[in-house]
């Protein structure tokens, strides 16, 4: 797929993205596009290359070949902090919070990229820096309220229960003011009740005008919130479309359940 100009309503376009680790092709020639304001899901069996694809988008890995275009800008090969500045935030499959910082500080670190205080301002606590710190603290508290863990603001991230850690990670990602939010298995290990709450949270995030791109195993969640789905297997895209279609796709069923004899 090499279709010239990117359409204006696509926030993310991957073109022939390939990532090789030595002889192993983790992501094989995947092309996909995500429309502004939708919930897009990436599914596939374990080891299909979903997280590798995320890492290629966010700059943790450099793609072997192919292009990543975000919001009309070619970001292929950008470093992770640049990608965050452009407006892509992510959470991690195995939660990676700053364990021994308070929840509030975790979120304030997320604000880092939108803050302007220079070394000089911080060294001498200039009024401008104080104002910014006050503002950022308020904003961080708002975000903690948004995901529903404001009460835990002064606790170490490490001490939160699992579900709240996932929420904190989302709050931290939202603090970077992303246009696109990548969620890597946000519902893993959740109870059914928590899954419902997560879906509500994703809807609220959409309401803020943020596009959501998620990896998820739980079919109820995927079917419940996503508008379009791409299925990866062994690094290859094997299906794409709305949930109902994908669910019936023969190759998808094979990938998940194995070929029937």
């Amino acid at each position: 797929m090499s279709d010239g100009q990117p359409a204006a309503d696509n926030i993310l376009e991957l073109t022939d993205l390939t990532k090789r680790f030595g002889g192993l092709v983790a992501v094989d020639n995947v092309s996909l596009h995500i429309k502004r304001g939708e919930v897009f899901a990436l599914i596939g069996p374990n080891g299909a290359g979903k997280t590798t694809l995320f890492n290629n988008v966010t700059g943790l890995f450099q793609p072997t070949s192919g292009r990543v275009v975000f919001d009309g800008r070619d970001i292929t090969g950008s470093r992770p902090h640049e990608v965050a500045r452009f407006g892509i935030a992510r959470t991690f499959q195995n939660i990676r919070l700053f364990d021994f910082m308070t929840c509030l500080d975790n979120v304030r670190v997320g604000r880092h990229v939108r803050m302007r205080a220079r070394l000089w301002d911080s060294l001498f606590k200039l009024p401008r820096e104080r104002r910014e710190e006050d503002r950022v603290t308020d904003e961080a508290m708002d975000l903690l309220r948004f995901v529903g863990i404001a009460k835990q603001a002064n606790q170490y991230a490490r001490n939160l229960p699992y579900g709240q850690q996932r929420r904190l990670e989302i709050a931290r990602a939202l603090a970077t003011e992303p246009k696109l939010l990548l969620l890597d298995e946000p519902a893993a290990g959740f109870t059914p009740q928590e899954k419902v709450e997560l879906m509500q949270l994703v809807k609220k995030i959409l309401g803020r005008g943020i596009t959501v791109f998620l990896i998820e195993h739980d079919m109820k969640v995927v079917m419940g919130i996503s508008e379009r789905i791409v299925v990866l297997d062994h690094g290859e895209k094997i299906a794409e479309g709305p949930p109902e279609e994908v669910r019936k796709d023969v190759r998808v069923i094979e990938a998940y359940l194995g070929k029937s004899a």
Binding site: D105, L123, K125
Partner: protein
Amino acid sequence: MSEPVKAGGRRSIFSRLHLRERMRDRDQAIYGLLILGALIYPEAILFITGNPAYIGDAAHAGTWVLLAIGLNVVVGFAGLLDLGYAAFFAIGAYTYGLFASAQLGASPLQHQYHIPFWIMMFVGLIVAASFGAILGFPTLRLRGDYLAIVTLGFGEIVPQLAFNLDRWTGGINAIGGIDQPWFPAWITGPWAGANSIAVIQNSTCRVSWASGFFPCFQFSFDPVAYYVLIVILIVIAVILVSNLYRSRLGRAWMAIREDEVAAAAMGINTVTTKLLAFAIGASFSGFAGAYYGASIGLVSPDNFFFVVSITVLVMVVLGGMGNISGVIIGALAIYAVLYVVLPHLPPAVSDLASTLGLGSLNQVNGDWPGLGHLVERLNFLIYGLILVLVMLLRPQGLFPSRVREQELKHDAVQEEETAVEQAAAV
């Protein structure tokens, strides 16, 4: 970073100051005691011993405090292991030594400089910070152990250069006769009363670019002057470093320490942020180096070997990594052990033996070197034992930052849990 922040709402000035909480807060209490101690110490020691040399010792300890505060930025905040910290100390000291003595007159430059200390202090700071950045730029992409090895190498290279570039640095002969700081005497000002200017004026000075002499206050080898200077420098350093700690940059450092990948994904440029930690840490060292050169009046390569880097690291770790007040206490404690306790131990032990009626132990007898001499030989064993004991009793350091405390407690709890599990499995 760990202090609670009340959510939202404007606070009145009084609640902003948190006076009551401050009284209870451990770190604030330590600062209070330290300031009080710093104010009382010179008067008390003069009153008790009448010997101003002890004030000079305290000023020397201050150099170590400054070094420890700087290394704490690198090791405690940003979590980068720097084993060559003395190199930056050397760079600061040599920068001052070269441009504030007759040294460069004998060098290929054929011209001696006598730039005032107050300017060179900042030059030393900037030069050391630049070297920190130059060393950091190619190496901070390395992680953990590799970075430690590179800094270790750098720490060895700098004193060797000082040895071998003897046309510039004097090599083994060191740089002597370094200028001491001075104030123009009018700095006392009119507030001191009509003729009080004579109180502080003790000599006349001449700046290289000015013609004629003017009254000034020479620091010379007056320990009190150096003591006052180092206390002021330390106070400034503590204020600046705590400001950084509670800022965007401080949070970024801690985020990198906690999880570098997540920090990068949150938009923190990990390379430049670590570079800043390195350069800022180095700048404190350079600052301390300039002060050291001025107060000793002699800069020799011997003063900057590996043992200096390690001693500063021990101060940081033993005091409580990441906690500024703890690090200051650590520096003072180690200084006291190294320069007060250990040198006085052998005579004290022999005296004790004599008073106990065991004076025969002090006699040299065959292989027995005498008790005092034996203790002297065992000095560093005793030093090591003290360190091991402290770390066993307080593995987080004397006054750990609350974060570290939590971290280590957690690890301890986890170890306990796994131990229980293993026991159950067997």
